[in-house]
Every structure is written in structure tokens, then in C-alpha cells.
Symmetry: C2
Subunit: 484 residues, 2 copies
């Protein structure tokens, strides 16, 4: 298998599909409708919006079609949505609200927990610049966290605005086109507040920073006054989001873009608060940047605030499990016409890792099928019929299909997690009976009964019934272990 | 969007997910476990097994990774399964039974109903050459058809064997390696029996055939005696599969491969018959070839036998909706060790087209969300709270997020298929009330009440309730139209 890819096995698939069903329910309750777009799009249509791309097509899997046009695997679900909306604009209800779930691909360096194919679950509202649409997306994200079982206080939806960040850049005099590179360095530094703390960020805004390993990261080279402004922005205090935002506004007073954006964020947070989502659930966070380049206004990030151990054994906040924001110019790439839009993307794999860390989504081992053992290869039709009887009663079942003997068959049933096996040897056939062996009870007893004579005499967890009672006898074994 | 790809909208997605749930249930009842493999594999690992490939990599989307190794999008779910089994052989229960569902990609010429991305739903048993495994796969396919709502008589699982076809080739003296090309031409002719009838096939086996448009297809150039043998094979008659197979055996008596394969098919059909799947559900069909080159033994095809109109307006059998077979050499490509396997792949899109043709899967329009109208933009928090109340009661709901007036908002609600809208203007606020307007009832009445005075006085399908009764009032509207 190529590096950066992985297989997903039964337990994880079962846990995942339960999680997807819960997310889907929240999205539908909010009035979003499903849409599926293909995995492959014209490269042009996707655009180049991935964070930190230096080379063209970096980050994207691309190839040419028979007419030598470039095609790419989608790297998110937002760019294909913009293409869909542009193509179907006239016939869509507006605003258009859609959700989408599916794999996306990134041709990036893989790492621990970082794959080249992963799943996203998005909700977007297209065709309105109403800040209430952004507020609703944040409420949707908060409700999704709780639907997945995270408690209040374990998560926060952090809100900021690209335009507020633009205002900060203008305030420190790096707002012009000639400073694009430096702005990117500043934003990367801001983005690292959670990880490095304010002192680390201060170094990255100034001369640069040497990490524990001795590696030096060149800084943005801002002057002390400029650094102080950015630090004041990042550490703005206040009893609530509105107060914090008032302080931010004071810092960027000269940027009309910035002050308008602050006013939008105040409205957004107040709509959330009025609807029952106070600061602890949805709050302003000046360090939220979001990497994708198509964002034009408010940006959101869902963060899990509880602590887990990372790969190095350090205790850290679990961190981001999804994000989004407003992207008012993405559809215009196709039609020329500005179609404002906002949305959110849940990182399904990250969420699942978080649930596992929380002990809320143990990969469900699942109950295996009932296995009908093959005692005599010439009697296959007989065993097959027994399996079909169970299946007709909607009990997962199978006849053993290998060639091994009794002991290996029992071992197979164990590995499949079978609740019981069905045995019909010559004696049972003669008596018109089947024997049912309860593997779960058997395993429990074998831990307590150590005397083999006692075991043989008790024949625990084993019962013979008339063949006609096969289904009901198996059902009572299943009932005995229901959720046990 | 690149040609050969398509977007799938809400109605179709809802119908599709119901269908997938029914297929999944049957597969799980048969004891198969889910597995997901990535979309991208090493090109080498997938191999070149697509039908009728002349050029290398024809039919597959491919590209190179950063180490210049060739990667491809999977063209089916079987080749990735072989790769998975080879990589995890020691720790898997054997036989290993897995199901998988997901998109596959083919870089082929698109046509009507023929896309470059489509979904397959597979079940496979790996690690046994027991013919009972093949029989079970056929029963699974038959049960799946019925779970989807096809009646007995509307479908048949057709069974043949690659080795029986090999036997026919040997019988007519084209079994050697020098005749590989001619064998392919003969198999293509055999494969066309359904479409062209026996006379058309006879021409394609001999000199060739001119179709209605005047296009000439070169034949296999067999002699009259050779053609007669193939025709006798294709038209073998008998009261049941066993009798038909006895006639086939007489034709290929000299091929030991062929006669052993006939005996396997007799066993397969007898296991099915004993388990309650008579000839009409699972039967021998000498014309089944299956294009994929990795098949080594029995091959299966699920055919829908009812008639539909094709694109040219002709009445034809609906035809194939899936297929499979035994592929004993696919895992050995990785490990060198022979691991026999058999499986079936359901063509999900074809099945959905069939259900639609049968009127069994009308794309469910679905009920849209309740829409809370925006009467006064300064009151957004109020409307937002109303929407959140409904959502908290698990009623899909939204506040209108556009900027248009009352009439456009009503039209929006109509297009979303909303059951009702919630209206709270100044008068209602003053009285602490909300107005609920039943759009379904309203549409029905507007068809019967033509007098506008009568309409105004009746104010049909509209009710004012105290704000505290919003949820229960909306619930009674929903209940009124439940499944109506």
C-alpha cells in the first residue's frame, strides 16, 4: 500500500458509521441537504488554496485526461461545492444549504495520524452574506460536538475573522501587496500561540526562534512596536467576547476593514449568545487563522479542550477537530458573479481519535456470526440448510467453509467472535437434534472450572435441542449475552 | 466537471442510502465483515485485469508519487482485497469473509448511464476452494435481490465456469497459447448471446457479422464444425441445470479441466437447490463469460429479467446488475502462495436504475425543514431562537438567511419542500404568539378555493398559537402530513 494510506477494519468502520449517523442527524435538523460530488475535478476548478503551497499543484494528486486536460483528486469538499453551485445556480433554492461527507486526498508528507486520504463532513450555506449564517454554522458545530458525546466545557468553537487579521496587518503597516510574504510569516506565528505560548510567538514575530532541538526558525523581523501591537492583539482581555473585541477594535481603529469585521464578530457572538450558546461554547479567539487561502471573513475552529498524552508522552490539549469560515469569492471564480458563502468541515478521523481517547468510541468488536461446524464434508447441504435457517431468522450465521478439523473450526469461531457454534454429528442426525455450544459462557466457565473431569460431566454451556428448535435455542443464547 | 462524472443530489442520495442499508444487512446476516481500503493503490498491486485492454494502463487513472512510483485509482474492490489479504494473511481468520462498499474509477469512454466513477458493493470469501463458498455467494446475491424488493421471477443468478469455457475451447482445438487472441474473440461472441441471439453469435464465431447500421464486425473464423460445437454448447437443453450440464459434459468430454468444472457446477447448483434456491433463482447459463481476467473458476451474474425500454425505445431485459466469480490466483501475485477466493460485486448504480424503473425507488423528495420567516431584520435573534427551539425538539428547521422579502421567502420555503413556515410579525410579538402556516394543506386548498374573498375569510391552513406552543403546533402539522 502506498505510504500515507491505510486500511480500516470492521471495529473502526462500525464506530465510524455510528459517528457519521449522529453528525448527519444534526446537519439535517439544521435544514441542510445532502450532495455528493465526484472525487475527480478539473484542476483549474479546484484552484490553489491549500495552506503553505510554494510549488504549483503541491498538495494535490493530479493527472491528465485523454484530451491532456489536468484533473485532480479533490483536496476538500468546498471547492467542488463552488463548482456545483456555479453550474446549477439558477435552479437552486437560495440560500442553498448542503452537507457532504466523503474522502479527500492531500499529496502531503504523511506522519503519525496524518494520512493522504481522510474523511470530511461539511455543512455550507451558499448565497448569503448574512452574519446569522455564520452564527448558525457555529451553533451547528457546537451541537455536533454534544451529539457526539462531548460535554459542555470539553469543546469550544473559536471564532475570528480574516478581516480582523487584515486590520492588524494594516495597523502595523504590513498591509500592502509588497508585504504578502511577511504577512504569511506573521500569520504562521499567530497560528502557533496554542503550541508555543506568547513568548514563542513574540520571538517568531521578531528575529526568530530556536526550538529545543536547536533548529532555528527565522522570524518575521517586525520592529518592537509592531511586535507589541500583535502581542496586545493576541492577549486582549475582557470579561466576554464583546469586551475583548472592543480592545481589539481600539488597536486597529485606523483600518475600516478591520473595524467592520469586529462589528460583524460582535453580531455573530451576540446571535449565538441569544440562542443559548454562551462564550464557553462559542467564543472569540484572536489566534485562529485557518490555513486555507479562500477564506474572506469570519473563520471558525472546533477545539477539544481536554488533555491527552501526545506521541512524546506530554500532556496536551487534544486540539482542533474541524474548522471553516466564510469564503465569498470562491463561486465567482466560475461565474464572475460574487456569491457569498460560509461553512464548516468536521475532521471525521480526528473526531474519532478524540472519541477513542475519551473512551466514547471503543472500536466495537461486534458480535460475530453463529458458525455451523462441518463434522462430515459429505453433509455440506445439511449444514448449509442450518445456516440458511438462522439467516432467514435474521441471525448472522455461516457454515464453516475451510477444510480444517474440529479444533481449528472452534478456533475460527473464537476469532470471529461467534456467540455460539452449531454442531450436528452422526449421533445428533440420528436423534434429529442439533447441539449448540455457547462460546461466551464456555469461555467464562473455563476460567473457573479447572478440573477436567468436572468439566466433562457438567458439559457446561452446551445444549442439545430438536432440529426444529434451532432458531429459538440460538436466540436464547443471544438473549443471554445481549449487551453482556 | 470532467466528462463521465456526475453530481448526485439529495433525492437520489436518500434512495441510495436506503438501498445500501438493505444490502449491508444481507451481507452481515451471511457473516461478512466490513473492510475499507484506500482509493489509491500501487499500480502494480492492482494488476491489469480489466476486460479488453489492449494498451497498458488502459482503463485506469494513474499518476506517479514523489518517488516516481506509479499509483492508480482502484478500478474494483477485489484487487485491493487481494493486496490486503496478502499483507495481513497470518492474523486473519481463515476463511476470511469481508464486504466492502465504495466508489471505483474507470478511465473508459463514458456513455449514457456509464460513468467513470461508480459504486460497487462486494462480498468475498478468501482462503477456501470449497465450492460451497461459491454456492453461498450465489445465495447471497439472490437474497440481496429480494431484500431490495425484486420478486421471485424478476431476477436470476446465472452461473457458469471459466474452466467449462476453457473446456469448450479445448474441444474445438483452440486451447493452446497460440490461440489466445482467437479465444478472446470467441468469448466476446458467446457473451453477446443475450443481445444478438444464437444466429448473431453464429456469424461472429464464423466469418463475421454486419449490424443494422452496416458496420461489419470480423468473426473468429471458426470452421463450421467448430461453430456447431460452440452453438451446441450455448443451446444445451435439459429439464434442469444438471441435465443441461450433462449435455455440456458430453461436448467437452476430452477436456479433463472442463469435466471437473462441470462436476463443480453440478455440486454448486445442488447445494443451492437443497438450501431452497431452485433453478429459477440460481441457474446454469452457458453464455456467462464475465470480462475481468482474474477469474479462474465459477463465474456469476445477477440478471434482472423484467423488461424495460432502452434509449432507442426498444423493449429489452433490464440485464446485468452485478457479477463475480472465483479468482484463485490473485493473492498469489503478492505472496507466491495460492490463496483461493470467490466473491460477488453488486453494481449499485445499475441496481438503483432498476429500482427506479420498477417504481420501487422513486428518488424520495424528502420533507424540507420548517422555515422561520424573517419579517424584520432587526429581530434576527428572535427568529433564530424560534428555529433553535424546533431543532432542540429534533424538528429540521431554519431561519431564512437570505435578504429577500416575504413573497420570495414563501417561494424559498416551497422550493425546499417545507411542511410549514413560522411567522412572527409585530402583531404576533405584541400578543406573544407565532403564526404557523401549513404549506401542504395550503397548496391543496388553493387548488379548490378559487374565490379570493372566501380564501381571506377562511385563512385556511394558518393558525396562531402562544409562542410556548410552537413545537407542539408544528408537530401537529407534521403529524397531519405524516406519509401523506
Amino acid at each position: 500500500m502506498p505510504k500515507g494510506f491505510r486500511d480500516i477494519e470492521a471495529g473502526e468502520i462500525r464506530a465510524m458509521s455510528g459517528m457519521l449517523a449522529r453528525i448527519r442527524e444534526v446537519y439535517e435538523i439544521y435544514g441542510f441537504e445532502p450532495l455528493e460530488t465526484p472525487a475527480i475535478e478539473y484542476t483549474d476548478a479546484l484552484g490553489k488554496f491549500l495552506p503553505d503551497q510554494d510549488r504549483p499543484n503541491e498538495g494535490v494528486f493530479s493527472f491528465t485526461d485523454e484530451d491532456d486536460r489536468w484533473l485532480s483528486l479533490r483536496y476538500d469538499l468546498t471547492a467542488p461545492l463552488a463548482r456545483y453551485v456555479a453550474a446549477n445556480f439558477d435552479r437552486l433554492p437560495k440560500p442553498f444549504r448542503r452537507y457532504a461527507v466523503g474522502p479527500v486526498w492531500r499529496n502531503e508528507k504523511p506522519g503519525p495520524g496524518r494520512y493522504r486520504q481522510f474523511m470530511q463532513f461539511d455543512a455550507d450555506t451558499v448565497g448569503t452574506d448574512n452574519i446569522a449564517a455564520d452564527a448558525e454554522i457555529c451553533m451547528l458545530a457546537a451541537d455536533t460536538m454534544e451529539a457526539l458525546g462531548f460535554q459542555r466545557g470539553e469543546y469550544v468553537i473559536k471564532v475570528n475573522s480574516r478581516k480582523v487579521l487584515d486590520g492588524v496587518m494594516e495597523a502595523i503597516g504590513v498591509g500592502g501587496p509588497e508585504d504578502a510574504g511577511r504577512r504569511l510569516t506573521v500569520l504562521r506565528a499567530v497560528d502557533k500561540l496554542d503550541r508555543l505560548g506568547i513568548d514563542g510567538v513574540r520571538l517568531l514575530l521578531g528575529p526568530g526562534r530556536k526550538d529545543e532541538s536547536g533548529d532555528f526558525t527565522k522570524g518575521a523581523g517586525l520592529s518592537d512596536v509592531q511586535v507589541a501591537t500583535v502581542v496586545a492583539y493576541l492577549t486582549a482581555q475582557g470579561r466576554d467576547g464583546a469586551e475583548k473585541l472592543a480592545r481589539v477594535e481600539a488597536l486597529i481603529r485606523e483600518s475600516s476593514t478591520g473595524t467592520a469585521a469586529v462589528s460583524d464578530l460582535v453580531d455573530l457572538l451576540s446571535l449565538c449568545q441569544d440562542a443559548g450558546y454562551p462564550q464557553g461554547r462559542i467564543g472569540f479567539d484572536p489566534s485562529v487563522v485557518r490555513g486555507l487561502e479562500y477564506y474572506t471573513g469570519p473563520v471558525f475552529e472546533a477545539e477539544l479542550t481536554f488533555e491527552v498524552r501526545n506521541e512524546e508522552g506530554q500532556t496536551v490539549r487534544f486540539g482542533s477537530v474541524g474548522g471553516g469560515g466564510r469564503y465569498d469569492d470562491l463561486v465567482a471564480r466560475f461565474t464572475g458573479q460574487r456569491v457569498p458563502a460560509t461553512g464548516f468541515s468536521m475532521g471525521v478521523s480526528r473526531l474519532q481519535a478524540a472519541l477513542a481517547a475519551r473512551g466514547k468510541a471503543k472500536a466495537r468488536a461486534g458480535r460475530g456470526p453463529v458458525v455451523v461446524l462441518v463434522m462430515d464434508r459429505s453433509e455440506l447441504p445439511r449444514y448449509q440448510r442450518l445456516a440458511q435457517q438462522l439467516r432467514a431468522a435474521r441471525i448472522p450465521a455461516e457454515m464453516y467453509l475451510g477444510t480444517s478439523g474440529m479444533k481449528a473450526q472452534m478456533k475460527y469461531a473464537d476469532r470471529r467472535g461467534s456467540p455460539c457454534v452449531v454442531i450436528q454429528g452422526g449421533d445428533e442426525v440420528a436423534r434429529g437434534e442439533v447441539q449448540i455450544k455457547d462460546l461466551i459462557e464456555g469461555a467464562r466457565l473455563s476460567a473457573t472450572i479447572t478440573d477436567s473431569k468436572e468439566w466433562r460431566e457438567a458439559r457446561p454451556a452446551q445444549v442439545s435441542v430438536p432440529e426444529a428448535e434451532l432458531v429459538s435455542a440460538v436466540r436464547s443464547v443471544l438473549a443471554r449475552h445481549e449487551r453482556g
